[in-house]
């Protein structure tokens, strides 16, 4: 019994079908609880007023936007090394989800930035690196769409994901070099543990983060299942066409 058993599409589908309903419910509950608690049951910040509440959408989506790319990197590596089709399809399924998360993070950031910084957009390192990340998502999705043969597409997008990751990290540091930041530092530094957010905001924020993480996992599992079925349908159609 090892993890690699679930590289078998049938086993993967069976497991994901069993897990998905619970996952949807759990993700929905977490997101709903976190957001409702965050929006209605927390006090206004003494300086930022009620705009502080956008943190409950902004931070979890930004977190998942980066983690989605990281997950694509890992699944791309698994595809290149062990040639499990499910892995390549999971990377394909995750890309649009990650791109949407990036857009949510950018849009909520702009909405918050207008009253707080007095501008919708600034060429701040964090904002800029997120925009570049979004461009990488676009290129990755476009490459998947452009290639007809599924195995070649999986190969080439995996290579693009690897090289793109290196350049995304390079861009992040280059952008820091190019312009000083306006964006505040992280409120929840994991390494030092010295967080600057009070518990009142922190607890619903963590619930939101868990909810967004679960939502991402559920969406990716669901979309991967769809991709597997799509491919199976194509194979059946091709076989039917040959038989007739």
């Amino acid at each position: 019994m090892s993890l690699w058993e679930y590289a078998n599409p049938v086993k993967f589908l069976r497991l994901s079908e069993r897990v998905l309903p619970a996952l949807w419910v759990f993700a929905g509950l977490c997101v709903a609880t976190g957001l409702i608690w965050g929006f209605f049951a927390t006090p206004d910040d003494y300086r930022q007023g009620s705009t502080v509440k956008i943190i409950f959408l902004h931070v979890p989506s930004a977190l998942m936007a980066i983690n989605a790319w990281f997950m694509m990197l890992v699944t791309s590596l698994i595809w290149l090394i062990r040639r499990h089709h499910v892995s390549a399809l999971a990377a394909k399924a995750a890309a649009p989800v990650g791109a949407v998360m990036t857009v949510i993070a950018l849009a909520t950031g702009a909405l918050w930035g207008q009253p707080m910084w007095g501008t919708w957009w600034a060429w701040d390192p964090r904002l800029t690196s997120f925009l570049i990340l979004f461009l990488f998502y676009l290129g990755y999705i476009a490459l998947w769409e452009a290639i007809e043969d599924p195995d070649t597409a999986a190969d080439l997008t995996s290579v693009l994901c690897l090289v793109g990751s290196v350049f995304a990290v390079l861009s992040r540091y280059a952008v820091h070099f190019w312009n000083q930041g306006l964006h505040q530092g992280t409120s929840v530094p994991v390494a030092t543990g010295a967080r600057t957010v009070s518990d009142v905001f922190f607890i619903p924020l963590v619930i939101c983060m868990i909810g967004f993480g679960m939502l991402f996992v559920a969406l990716v599992l669901y979309r991967t299942g769809t991709e597997i079925r799509l491919r199976r349908t194509r194979a059946l159609l091709a076989r039917g066409a040959r038989g007739a």
Binding site: G139, V163, A174, V175, W178
Partner: protein
């Protein structure tokens, strides 16, 4: 490998458009800039390093879709892939040929176009140095992009979408070095970063490019 380099150079020379097209594009882009932002010489002088870098980058991009596509169509790439020299080396040579035919002329032409944009006197030397150090990275990233998209019909637009985000760090360091040089500041730090970036690209990207090309030729 030298034979391959000479062949590519000869093809670029004799087929026409290899040297000329990128340069002409660079010239036209530079001429269009004052029309779009206005002819004030102080403004032009401020943005000149950035504009020249951007122009060089776009001129480089323009010639990428022909970098491997012609050889892919007539089958020479298949011959190269089965040749005794490693495909990584062949692609590095292709990158070198691309740099000689597009990067180098851009470096030489950039000071002349700097005059058009009223580039400050201190900036010319650093502009040439930064372009000289940065354009090899642009060529190698281009080879990788071309290898990814070589099998796709009408892949030109997709190629730009894939390659331009990869150009971001090079552009930042290159333009920053040129800008600091023009403003009379010390451009050593961005120049060193740019050099490191170029060397890293030359060392590592042929492997990624040949991996992608093998997948396309399979």
């Amino acid at each position: 490998m030298i034979a391959l380099l000479l062949r590519d150079l000869r093809l670029a020379l004799r087929a026409g458009g290899g040297f000329g097209l990128g340069l002409a594009f660079f010239l036209i882009l530079t001429v269009l800039v004052p029309f779009s932002v206005g002819p004030q010489s102080t403004l032009l002088g401020t943005i000149a390093p950035g504009i020249l870098w951007l122009g060089a980058l776009l001129a480089c991009l323009l010639s990428l879709d022909r970098l491997l596509a012609l050889d892919f169509e007539d089958g020479s790439l298949d011959v190269l892939a089965t040749a005794p020299i490693p495909l990584e080396g062949a692609l590095a040579v292709k990158g070198l040929a691309h740099w000689i035919t597009t990067g180098l002329p851009l470096v030489v032409a950039a000071p002349a176009l700097g005059v058009l944009l009223n580039l400050p006197g201190a900036g010319y030397g650093w502009l040439v140095v930064s372009l000289l150090l940065g354009t090899p990275a642009l060529s190698m990233i281009g080879v990788f992009g071309a290898a990814l998209t070589v099998g796709i019909k009408r892949g030109g637009l997709l190629l730009s979408l894939l390659v331009l985000p990869l150009y971001v760090p090079t552009l930042i360091f290159g333009a920053e070095a040129a800008r600091r040089g023009a403003a009379g500041l010390d451009p050593a730090t961005p120049l060193l970063m740019l050099t490191g970036l170029s060397l890293g690209c030359i060392a590592l990207l042929p492997f990624a490019a040949s991996a992608a090309l093998r997948m396309n030729l399979r």
